[in-house]
Symmetry: C2
Subunit: 259 residues, 2 copies
């Protein structure tokens, strides 16, 4: 019987996490440990400056007044009966694609699980309004069955994005790389009631690089996208190149008076 930790960044009451929790019960014992409210764009943040409250609000459902990363840390180390066999995060309402995954609370939760050595998968539905969670849970179950049997590559989580269509309209599953967003991160200027200028980050147009193997392209073509995401962020080819070219020994030299 697998023990599965279910979390998200939309909060413990979001329809996506309820759908995922139900799907996970087929594989063993599932627990929700999730933020008490929406924590979108929380990035991979840990709450260190205040204590956290963990409240069991229903059987196997625990609400934490912290971030998704807090929930995974607490869940693995304190709240679950033992170290879980799997961490699943989602189903996020909205895609987590390209460079945006560095902001994503959904993906961050899977990063935290991976840091603790637990195979971890982030699920997102590329939707805004009417959301086909049934499509996402169908593929979540397929992927989880495979991961529970075969585990995952070392230090690597899966970032799964599901197009928001009915299941028969899904063309297939593509194993993808993280795409690149050409950013036009709009910032709106606004004023407070006393006429002082403020800035509000959001809106804006986005452009995506093209390329057949990218996560975004797969989703746009109605494929489920699965990207293996590595915890080692080192650019190894750049490292080799730098080792040949950077004059690091010269960089030690300098006027003594600056010491």
């Amino acid at each position: 019987m697998a023990l599965i930790l279910v979390t998200n960044d939309d909060g413990v009451h979001a329809p996506g996490i309820i759908a995922l929790f139900r799907a996970m019960k087929d594989f063993g014992e599932a627990y929700i440990v999730a933020p008490d409210r929406e924590r979108s764009a929380a990035g991979h943040s840990l709450t260190l400056h205040r204590p956290l409250k963990a409240e069991t609000i229903r059987d196997h459902v625990i609400s934490v007044n912290g971030t998704p990363t807090d929930c995974v840390t607490l869940g693995i180390n304190k709240l679950l009966p033992r170290k879980p066999d799997l961490v699943v995060s989602g189903i996020n309402r909205g895609g987590n694609l390209g460079d945006d995954i560095t902001y994503s609370g959904t993906v961050s939760a899977a990063i935290e699980g991976t840091i603790f050595g637990v195979p971890s998968v982030a699920f997102s539905l590329v939707a805004d309004k009417q959301s086909h969670y049934d499509t996402a849970t169908f593929f979540a179950a397929k992927i989880v069955a495979y991961v529970l049997e075969h585990s995952l590559p070392y230090d690597t989580l899966l970032n799964v994005n599901v197009p928001n269509v009915l299941r028969p309209d899904i063309k297939g599953i593509k194993l993808t790389r993280q795409g690149k967003r050409m950013y036009e991160n709009s910032i709106q200027e606004t004023f407070n009631p006393w006429g002082e200028k403020y800035y509000w980050i959001g809106g804006g147009r986005t452009f995506w690089e093209h390329g057949d193997e990218a996560d975004m392209e797969a989703v746009q073509q109605n494929y489920v996208s699965i990207t293996p995401v590595h915890l080692d962020l080192t650019n190894h080819s750049a490292l080799s190149h730098m080792r040949e070219h950077w004059p690091v020994s010269e960089m030690l030299e300098g006027p003594d008076e600056k010491i």
Copy 2:
């Protein structure tokens, strides 16, 4: 004349950012755009749910009531006279090494600069109390001089960690890979005045994998560590392996009644 954006996650008044700002003035025009207070462990988070206030508190020094990522976004797109030639973040008081960089506000600021196509470097001093910022600024200047002349590999930032010793005690500079922390992320149990249990994340012992090329090992041996960090988190070798082995076409099959 280079235009340089200076930020951090310790806040606009931290000694590390003042030291870095002074060092950057030798290279052209420098602006501080930094959080109004400490935003450690903020991860790569953007503030989307409220407007942000940017206040010029001294000449070329702007305080923002948001995260390091907010500061870079606003700085590049709104506050500086043009797109900067370089983003530098730090000097953080405390190392940003191994997997911990995914939490780091200091590194996140450099990620954001890189997303906008600006060469970006994160600087950290591996210190807690008495801090040798002079050592860090000496090497920051050397590295910035080189980066301004040669730029950086595509989609890649530098994560620099400086040992907290006097400059003559620095043995050299090592180009390193991101190390791996063997986590024992302690969580303290505590109680509120009404006897309810709370959890406080922090403390705990840490273990590091050994390995001559890792960031942590270099710093422990009194070398300055420079790690090239890639924005593409795809595990490409895992992707190739999965493409050979995952039975993705079989995963489309399932009972129709679940639709």
